[in-house]
């Protein structure tokens, strides 16, 4: 009980309090602990723990091969890669002129070759897949299903077009005409009357054209309908407001969780 319960809780409480309140104390030793020592301790622990992870990986892959589980052939690649990386890291440099240690970063070594020509391209391939996933996810997100999805679609289009050179070439007039047409669609879906729709669209186009001509609107006037300005407003106001509220929630969540740990209220980490 003492070793499995009380001591872990005590360690969490003491180190947690020291890390939290150390930020308010101007004492070099505490500062050094909070800023450097504590994180270095964690790094040292994590470095040793990698052996556990490595052995676990090897064990799992070997089991797969020996029991001929589904997809066991892929495990051969995992085991081969594991052994090759160990050989390149600890036993064979591939370039006798390079010292041990620096061989992981120096050119012309087996380790660097593996990194440059196998590891990096494979990572880049996975990263590149993201483009296709973004496309398929965007399609689902932008599909018009309800008011919120429509709002998201319109905001997305305004931001995407407003941020590229094409957006600054589109005049405010054009956007106003578009708005009149969208208003016409709304009128038509509410009243289901072609005459009302035609009158609304015609009057709208006449108002926009005559107002623009009489006041001599340039490309970017009225500013509120100019896409680069509009996207900036959407980005800096509604978007930032939403983001900040989520950030505050996250901050409070992290704070409350940390305090629960420090005070020993949350003890799930010792299995309670």
């Amino acid at each position: 009980m003492l070793w499995k319960r009380h001591i872990p809780i005590l360690i969490v409480a003491v180190i947690g309090s020291l890390t939290l309140f150390g930020w308010f104390i101007d004492e070099p030793n505490i500062k050094a602990f909070v800023n450097d020592d504590a994180t270095q301790w964690f790094d040292i622990l994590a470095s040793f723990a990698i052996f556990l992870g490595g052995f676990n990986l090897l064990k799992m892959q070997l089991q797969k091969v020996l029991r001929k589980k589904q997809g066991w052939q892929y495990s051969l690649f995992a085991i081969g890669g594991f052994i090759l990386a160990i050989i390149a890291g600890f036993f064979y440099k591939g370039n006798p002129d390079v010292a041990w240690g620096t061989h992981v970063t120096a050119d012309g070594t087996l380790f660097k070759w593996i990194f440059m020509y196998i590891f990096a391209p494979l990572g880049a391939t996975m990263f590149a897949l993201l483009a296709f996933f973004v496309a398929s996810a965007s399609y689902r997100a932008f599909r018009i299903r309800n008011f919120e999805a429509t709002l998201l679609l319109v905001s997305g289009i305004i931001i995407m077009i407003g941020r590229v050179p094409l957006g600054s070439s589109i005049s405010s007039w054009f956007i106003l005409y578009l708005l009149v047409l969208i208003g016409g669609i709304a009128i038509n879906s509410v009243f289901k009357n072609k005459q009302y729709t035609a009158i609304f669209v015609s009057v709208g186009i006449i108002i926009v054209t005559s107002a623009g001509s009489s006041m001599g609107w340039p490309l970017d006037q009225p500013g509120i309908f100019y896409l680069p300005h509009l996207q900036e407003w959407i980005y800096m106001n509604p978007n930032v407001a939403g983001t900040r509220s989520i950030m505050m929630g996250i901050g409070l969540g992290i704070f409350a969780t940390s305090i629960r740990y420090i005070l020993g209220i949350e003890k799930s980490y010792i299995g309670e």
Binding site: L20, W23, F24, I25, D26, E27, T39, F42, L45, A46, A49, I50, F51, L52, G53, G54, N56, L57, K59, M60, Q63, Q70, G71, Y74, F119, L122, G123, M126, F127, L129, L130, F133, V134, S136, A137, S138, R140, A141, T243, I246, M247, M248, G249, I250, L252, G253, I254, F255, A256, T257, S258, I259, R260, Y261, L263, I265, E266, S268, Y269, G271
Partner: protein
């Protein structure tokens, strides 16, 4: 500790701090006083509500669809005879989100033990692997099914972000889990994982405080726990009064923050038009 003792302790600590402050407060970083007081007030509020909950006062916790859906997802996997895949993020135990992810894993593994469903937990950090193994082991023991637990249900893949994503994708495509749960800290791999899960028709529930990844999860998953909902998961799933009290405390802190924002705007306005000579922004600035 009863209420009287608690109040005496709080009063004692406050008095001690006041004495320390008026004695010249050696070693204290004076510029951070506002932050220090804020932490004290917030901690006090949290503790107040936790104590209230412990006394047995009824505290309302709104339904969080994503958390309610976890049991449904495990049930669905059981009915389909397919495994549950749980990914506790890609970061180490020094991240609160990973810790929260491992806590939720404890609750999920209780459900899988109860329903006798296979659980598969690939991890990207060795320390997380050990912590997650312990959490699962305890859950299976508590549910009276230690026979169903085996260390390999939590297994290490790699520390590398995209290699991990490739490994998890491989598991998804081969094993076709019926439920995929992503709870922890994620980066760009979030969409790769969630879209692959979507393509195999799994029910997907995500929880993260990684702000940039929330839109991806919202798009690709069936349910997403956004920020604080994710941190409230432990309270919701365990229904322990002190944890629920903490969530209520968190809500009250939010009320304090909103009041402070409104008060700050008012004070700033009064300062700008010259009615008061007090700059709230300068006062709240932490160096």
């Amino acid at each position: 500790m009863n209420d009287r003792d608690f109040m005496i302790s709080v009063g004692g600590i406050s008095l001690a701090f006041l004495i320390y402050w008026f004695a010249g407060h050696p070693y204290f970083v004076t510029e951070r006083l506002v932050m220090f007081l804020t932490i004290m007030i917030f901690s006090g509020t949290l503790m107040f509500y936790i104590r209230k909950a412990r006394r047995g006062e009824d505290i309302f916790l709104r339904d969080i669809p994503g958390l309610k859906a976890i049991e449904e997802a495990v049930g669905r996997s059981t009915e389909m005879g397919k495994p549950v895949l749980y990914v506790p993020g890609i970061m180490d135990m020094d991240q609160v989100e990973t810790v929260a992810g491992v806590i939720v894993l404890g609750h999920v593994s209780k459900m899988t033990a109860r329903y006798e469903t296979t659980l598969n937990v690939p991890v990207s950090r060795a320390i997380v692997m050990k912590a997650a193994q312990e959490a699962c082991k305890e859950s299976y023991l508590m549910e009276g099914r230690p026979d169903m637990f085996h260390d390999d249900m939590v297994h290490y893949l790699t520390d590398e972000q995209f290699a991990f994503a490739a490994g998890v994708n491989g598991i998804m495509v081969r094993e076709k889990p019926a439920a995929c749960l992503y709870m922890g800290k994620f980066y760009a791999e979030s969409l790769i994982l969630a879209e692959t899960g979507n393509s195999i028709g799994a029910i997907q529930i995500a929880g993260t405080a990684s702000q940039a990844q929330i839109p991806f999860f919202v798009t690709a998953c069936d349910y997403t726990l956004i920020g604080e909902e994710f941190f409230a998961a432990s309270a919701y799933l365990s229904q322990r009064p002190e944890l629920i009290g903490g969530v209520k405390g968190q809500d009250m802190i939010k009320v304090i923050v909103i009041a402070t924002i409104l008060g700050g705007v008012l004070l700033r306005l009064l300062n700008d038009i010259g009615l008061i000579n007090f700059n709230i922004l300068q006062f709240l600035k932490v160096t």
